[in-house]
Symmetry: C2
Subunit: 273 residues, 2 copies
């Protein structure tokens, strides 16, 4: 990593920067954002700020001020053109047991990483994960720190030709990839899981939905099943760091990189956000 700030202060020793009492460590009691820095600025920053705030609100965590967060981001970006910034906001350090003390001040951790490697080809191969997502509408959609399901899912494969793993929930609904949202194109309609019970409402997901609507494309947020993917004409995944990635292979099935996927990718490239 390039640099780390904890509550706005640059840490000289990132290996000794966090309290043993930190509720993010004890219980995964917090939220995070992973943001792409491109040409010296964070892409989709308004959406990242809004989701972080919404996550804190859902969990009853006092959110850091946006001024503090933006000041952290500015300090980390200084002198860097490209990279990835991770923001973690936890309920704070202290207390004993699960009960969240109302007197805690939230902890904010901001980390700047080097840019990710550019993929060698645009289309990706995906696989099915055996790990299922549990259903809990109370925690669905926000990007909280309870991520064991995603960790377990990513531990299922090591083949570097497989870029992502698709995840079902415990009832068999198709929800997402381990760190990406999923979109399908069928008869010219763009469909994506509604995430009412699980999954993360990705900032890139919401941006792509907006771009699609602006381009006059019908968008459906609804429950999807594995067969919806198998029957789709085009499929792609999205996340904030990697943008739109077309799915071209899953087991023996192959998809072309379709016209609608290419058109959305082009709209995204032109978008000022």
């Amino acid at each position: 990593m390039f640099a780390t700030l904890v509550n706005g202060v640059a840490v000289s020793d990132a290996a000794h920067a966090v309290s043993v009492d930190e509720r993010g460590l004890s219980y995964g009691d917090g939220v995070f954002e992973t943001m792409r820095v491109q040409a010296g600025r964070v892409r989709l920053i308004e959406r990242h700020m809004a989701r972080l705030r919404a996550g804190c609100e859902r969990l009853g965590i006092a959110p850091p001020t946006e001024m503090h967060l933006r000041s952290d981001i500015a300090a980390l970006i200084h002198g860097h053109h490209d990279g990835v910034i991770k923001l973690i906001v936890t309920r704070g350090a202290g207390g004993r047991g699960y009960r969240p003390l109302t007197t805690l001040s939230s902890t904010r951790i901001a980390i700047m990483y080097p840019p990710i490697a550019t993929p060698s080809q645009p289309g990706i191969t995906v696989r099915w994960c055996n790990t299922r997502l549990a259903r809990n509408s109370q925690l669905a959609g926000i990007k909280h720190l309870n991520r064991l399901e995603q960790v377990m899912a990513q531990s299922e494969w090591s083949d570097q030709q497989i870029a992502e793993g698709l995840m079902l929930d415990t009832e068999g609904e198709l929800i997402c990839a381990t760190s990406s949202n999923l979109f399908l194109v069928t008869d010219g309609v763009l469909a994506t899981p509604d995430l009412r019970f699980s999954g993360v409402r990705g900032v890139m997901r919401d941006e792509v939905i907006k771009l699609a609507l602006c381009d006059g494309i019908t968008v459906e947020e609804r429950p999807l099943r594995p067969e919806d993917l198998l029957n789709a004409a085009e499929a792609f995944i999205t996340n904030a760091v990697r943008g739109i990635r077309p799915i071209v292979a899953l087991d023996s099935q192959r998809w072309p990189i379709g016209a609608l996927t290419l058109s959305l990718d082009s709209s995204l490239a032109k978008s000022p956000n």
Copy 2:
């Protein structure tokens, strides 16, 4: 807290002891144990060690050696008669993204806390929690660090007369209290939720089941519903730190502290573990 060890080394500054890259913080990627120290030793230590090991195994985390863990415990207990020790084992610090690097060494954190306050009366009042437990058999039973549901449940009340909150899963099954397991007595039979989809397999739960079986009591581990509690003759909760606590009140319902509960509590007091 009295003292803290990270990977066996006493930390002079517990507020700056853990890496920002710690996967326990990033994803709740680890397990923990909360253990009662009484008369200079950890109660149910074999069960705690076994559950920690089983949790690491389930998550694919290389467990610390038992020698290391017992050495941490011995160092923390030194000079203390009573208290609570919390052990946290995470997958380690490092890596980028959910994928667990196989090269990581697990991190172990051991914290000694003062003893808990002795309750003023043996019977407790409980309430229903609105927060539901998600169902995921892959993570059920182990004491992992993804505990947002318990945090949210405990944030539902502040009345100190309420000692615990009872939790249902998303399908309406009665699973546990926020930090305790639940037992019901009906027609002389002891029943406790089977925890096949959610909840933590408490070390005190398993000890109570063993004691009951030794006392010739029929024990059923099975799905329970709220009405099973309402129809029960006796009800109590258990955890490693507080032992057996009889439930005497829930909303308008009252229970006596029953004969079977008292008998199990007496067996527990006599148990050498």
